[in-house]
Structures are given as C-alpha cells and as structure tokens.
C-alpha cells in the first residue's frame, strides 16, 4: 500500500495552491458577502486547464489522473468553496456525462469547448418535488417529429446563469415504472422556451448562483438525447457517483481552511497571559480536527484512486463524501469554538467555512443517501 503522491500530484497541489492563494483567496470573503459569481476567475482557471483536468488533452482537457483533479479541487476549495463548486459542477456533473455517454457528434460539438473551459456547463436533475427521490421528477420530454419538447422546471442548478450547456433530465415515458422513463438531454442556453430564474439566497457557497430553470414548450433537436431514451437515471447516477468524490474534495478543502485558521488564531490569541494554543482544551480540539481531516483525506483520495485504477468506486465515493462532508461541518464548528465570539463574526473566515461546509452534507446526495448506498453494499 503506497501513501505517497506522485511528483505530478505533489506539483499539482503546490501549483494550484499558488494560484488559489493569489487569485481566489483574496476575493473569497467578498464573493460570499456580495453573493457574487466570480466569473472573472473562470478564464484564468481555463488557462491553467483547471476546468477540464481529468479529460484527455485531445478533447481539450489536461489529461491528468482523477486524483490530481481531486487534489486541485481540494486546493481551490481551501481558498474559495464557491469557486470549487463552479469547478466541480462544470467538470464532474456537466462535462462528464458528455464524455462518458455522448455519441461522437455530441462530443465533437461540445466536449472540447467544455473540457477546455471555454463554455461553462450545468447539471439539471433536481426539481421542487424531486430531490433525493430523483425519479419523481415531473419535467417531460415528448418526441414530436425530429424534436423533443420539454416542459417543467428544475431547481438549485449550480452555474445556471453563466452556463451555456445544460444536462437536463426529463421523463420521456411518464408511465414507465420507477426510474425507467427518465432520459438525459443536452440543452443549449439560447433555446427558445428555456429560461433561467432568480438565484436562491443561500446559507453558504453564496457566490455560486443556483437558480431554477424553466422549460415552456422548449423544443430541442432529437440529437440532443444523451445516452439513449430511458437511460437518464443511469446517466444521472453514474455521474453523481463521480461527483460525490468531488464534493468530498470540496469538503476537505473547507475543513483544511478551517483548521488552518484555527491553528493560526490559537497561536495568536492570548488568554490567561499565554496563547490559547498552550491550553489543553484547545490542543485536544485541534488534534481531533487534524485527525478527522486526515481520515477524510485518505477516504477521498482512495475513492479517486479507484477511478484511476478502473475499480468500482460507488461505495468508496459515498464513504468519502459522507465522512468528508460531516467532518467539514464538525471541524468548521470547532474552528468557530476556538475563535470564541470573534469566530461568530464576519471579521474571521471560520463562520463562512461553517456555512460553506453544511451544503456538502446535502447536495449531490445527502448524507442519508450516502448511508443508504454504503449500507446496501455492506449488507449485500
């Protein structure tokens, strides 16, 4: 068992950290405070091939292994969790299904621009009444000649106002039992009948705009069908399997940022005539935080490594997301505790880390869904 990263993986970490510290961290508090989508960083990230790391160079990506992508995502998240969700929603949720399920014509049309970060993508599965129960969606796609006509709505769609390409799930056979009637489609932004609603006001990752989408007799060509009719649930679940590892990495970055802040503050804050880092109560919290983060990191990296080695990763990804996300919330909570009253103010970053952490327990499969996936595998 080898716990050593390759030279390239180490360099990805140090290089992305250099970029994130210089370009992302300085604006992170402002992006959060003003609920501002940091669109100016996307061309910069695209220039470094950070918007398509795991895809081969010939389709516009960087040709990196999945673990390198996960390390990069962790470092981006450590500086700005909002930017991390933009990156992972684009890479893992929007580009991945085209790379994995797209036919050659679809790849030719979309993949290079998306993998190179020239055109931003979004993934539209969740509906107002269909969150964890994704198959309960009511958006429909009816075949009419050589077109599908979409009607319905989606909600909580990351990147939506700035995306140009959307992976949209809709029922092509509403009468089919369970998940069989769902299909996936590629929808372009300017399609008549398609519109983007007002952004939600969220607890955390406030710079990541997540509005609803509306489809009113939205006509798209039949060639926009992705992965075949009735295959939508498979496309969604396989995409989310990979996406969960990305959310684990995002959680890991948030947790590390919270620990870094807590360590720094505890060395500077003087109480009873000495830095609070010399107090056992603080030391024990720091020890627990560091240990949990390390355990989370091993789980997240192991899951990414499974992808790189062509091994199944559904359960491993669920474990990684479950543990890393709950760790992030716990660690950020302790970071606030170490900061005391100051930690409860916007003068210090830990309250933002706490708010940012919470969503990682919810999106791309709640902790309860991850436990369901894990228990199914354990009880098989």
């Amino acid at each position: 068992m080898d716990f050593e990263l390759t030279d390239e993986q180490e360099l990805v970490r140090s290089t992305v950290r250099e970029f994130a510290d210089a370009e992302l961290a300085p604006a992170a508090a402002e992006v959060d405070r003003d609920h501002r989508f940091p669109e100016e960083v996307i061309p910069k990230m695209a220039g470094l091939s950070l918007m398509g790391m795991p895809w081969p160079e010939d389709v516009g990506g960087a040709g990196a292994d999945y673990l390198s992508y996960i390390i990069a995502l962790e470092e981006v998240s450590r500086a700005c969790a909002t930017t991390a969700v933009i990156m992972t929603a684009h890479t893992t949720l929007a580009t991945s299904p085209i790379y994995k399920f797209g036919n050659q014509a679809q790849k030719d049309k979309y993949l290079f621009d998306m993998a190179s970060g020239r055109r931003l993508g979004a993934f539209a599965l969740t509906e107002p009444a269909a969150g964890t129960d994704a198959a309960a969606g009511t958006t429909t796609a009816v075949l009419d000649g050589d077109s599908y006509v979409l009607n319905g709505s989606k909600i909580f769609i990351s990147n939506a106002p700035y995306a140009e390409i959307y992976i949209v799930f809709a029922k092509t056979d509403p009468d089919a039992p369970g998940t069989r009637g769902m299909s996936a489609f590629i929808v372009e932004r300017d399609t008549p009948g398609f519109s983007v609603g007002e952004a939600e006001h969220k607890l955390g990752i406030r710079g990541s705009s997540t509005p609803p989408l509306y489809f009113a007799n939205c006509r798209i060509p039949s060639e926009a069908l992705l992965g075949g009719e009735g295959k939508g649930f498979k496309v969604a679940m396989q995409t989310l399997d990979g996406g969960r590892i990305g959310i684990g990495a995002q959680a890991l970055g948030i947790a590390q940022a919270a620990l870094d802040a807590a360590v720094s503050y505890s060395k500077e804050r003087i109480q009873f005539g000495k830095p609070i880092a010399t107090l056992q109560a603080i030391q024990w919290m720091i020890a627990d935080m560091a240990t949990e983060i390390d355990a989370a990191r091993l789980l997240v990296y192991r899951a990414a490594s499974c992808i790189d080695h062509g091994k199944p990763y559904s359960t491993e990804g669920a474990m990684a997301k479950l543990f890393a996300s709950e760790t992030a919330t716990r660690v950020a909570g302790k970071a606030i505790q170490i900061h005391g009253g100051y930690g409860y103010t916007e003068d210090y970053p830990v309250e933002r880390h706490y708010r940012d952490a919470k969503i990682t327990e919810i999106y791309e499969g709640t902790s309860e869904v991850q436990r369901m996936v894990i228990s199914r595998a354990a009880l098989r």
Binding site: D7, E8, E10, L11, V12, S14, T15, E18, F19, A22, G47, L48, S49, L50, M53, E57, A62, G63, A64, S68, A72
Partner: protein, 258 residues
C-alpha cells in the same frame, strides 16, 4: 542563444523552527524551488520567447537537488532542459564553491550568452553567488535587474535603483540577478506540469567538471546571540503630547540612547 538560469532546491526557513539551543530544526520543512528563482526563470523566459533562445536550468548541491520533482518543478515553469550536479560533498558548500561549480557547468554547456539568477536564495540570502560566478567567468555582473531585452551582444538591461531606473547596454555575455519583484512568475498550467517530466534532464558527475580546488577554506566555528537586556518597563502617561515627547527625549538621553 543560450540562457542559463541557476536555481536552488531548498527549504524555506519559515517552515523551520529554532530550538532552544539556537540550532535550527529543518525536519518539518519541505523542499521547494527557492522563492526568487521563479522570478529569474520568468524574466529569462520573456527574453527567450522574444529571441528564440534555449532556456537551461542548472542546479548544484547535495543529495536531493536532483530529485525528479525538483527538475519537474522548474521545467514546468518554462525551462527547456535542466542540468544537475548532485553530490553530497556539496552539502555545506559555501557561496564560492557553488559559484565555482556553476561556472564549470556553464563551461560544460558551452556558448552560453547569459546567466540570469534570482535575487537571493531563500535559505542563505547572501546575494554572493551571481557576482562570484560572474567573476569566475570574467563577465559583468548586474544586480537588481528589473527588465532585460535585446539580442546577444546588445542586451538592454534596466536596473531598479533608488529614485529611478538605470539603463545599461551590455555587449557580450553577462550574469544578471533579477530583482525580487522584477516580474510576477506565471503559474504553470496543468498541462505544463504533466509535460515537465518529458523534458531532458542531464546529470553531471562533479568530478568530471574538474572544478579548480579552492585556495582558502572558511568554516563557521561558532554562533552566539546577543544577551537579552531586561526591559525597564518605563511608562509615560502624560496626556499632553508635547510633554510626553519631552519626557521621552529626556528618558532616552538619560539612557544614553540619544
């Protein structure tokens, strides 16, 4: 045209801790490219891109400087190839020794038009290597270089000097030390990182370079810290600023400071 950029693979003192006895514990520090060397690489890269010059990184030092990750780290920043002299006899080598080995490597590479170094190394910060190297090569040395343009034989160099900029024209080879903030190094792209391992790395045997033996030996024989003086804890609590200033001046004169 060939441009050589010496670089150092070493630990940042900010990651080291001082023990109670005054010695430094480097065990938790991770090696990396010395802070100002990416500035030198970036400055040289700009000239290389404008002139089509070959950009060659050179590092000399003890075991570790030739690690693959060290070469990849600098190659990803735009160097065409690197030359490494890795020998444990260089473990505690002084600036003159390092400059002598670098001069020998420059001779080995041959037809070098320009050497661009960083402002100083992050761990020693003596700023001696560029001038010593230039002396050994018989070339002019220019420090605090903010910009360089032109062609071999007609280089135009701008130096940041107090109150302004000095412009120099240099005919022939030279050693330039980039100022710490001459340019902002670009962040390598992910493709640059992944391609760095495919670029050539030449490992040279120190003995084969036939570096002239040094004529003098300097050894650090001791270290000491000035004794900490007890603080007097003298407070000035006068609210009138003029009176407070007068009291401060009086106290400083009394202490023999003024």
């Amino acid at each position: 045209m060939k441009i050589v950029v010496p670089y150092k693979w070493t630990c940042d003192p900010e990651e080291a801790t001082a023990r109670a006895d005054g010695t430094v514990d480097w065990s938790r520090a991770r090696p990396g490219v010395s802070t100002y060397d990416p500035v030198a690489i970036e400055l040289a890269r700009g000239l290389a891109q404008a002139t089509g010059a070959e950009l060659i990184g050179v590092t000399v030092g003890a075991k570790g400087v030739g690690a693959a990750i060290a070469s990849k780290a600098v190659l990803s920043r735009g160097l065409d190839r690197v030359v490494v002299v890795e020998d444990d006899s260089l473990k505690d080598a002084g600036r003159a020794d390092i400059a002598a080995v670098l001069a020998a490597v420059v001779g080995h590479i041959g037809d070098v038009d320009l050497v661009v170094t960083g402002d100083s190394s992050v761990d020693v910060a003596a700023k001696m290597v560029p001038t010593t190297l230039a002396g050994l090569l018989g070339w002019p040395a220019v420090a605090e270089v903010a910009a360089v343009t032109g062609q071999p034989g007609t280089l135009r160099v701008e130096r940041a000097i107090p109150g302004g900029v000095q412009t120099l024209e240099i005919s022939g080879p030279a050693v330039l030390a980039a100022s710490a903030d001459a340019v902002t190094p670009h962040v390598p792209g992910m493709k640059d990182l992944l391609a760095a391992g495919k670029k050539p790395v030449e490992h040279l045997d120190l003995a084969s370079l036939k570096v002239p033996a040094r004529s003098a030996v300097m050894t650090v024989t001791g270290r000491s810290r000035p004794e900490r003086k007890a603080r007097k804890g003298q407070m000035i609590d006068t609210k009138d600023p003029a009176a407070a200033a007068a009291e401060l001046v009086k106290a400083l004169r009394g202490a023999g400071v003024l």
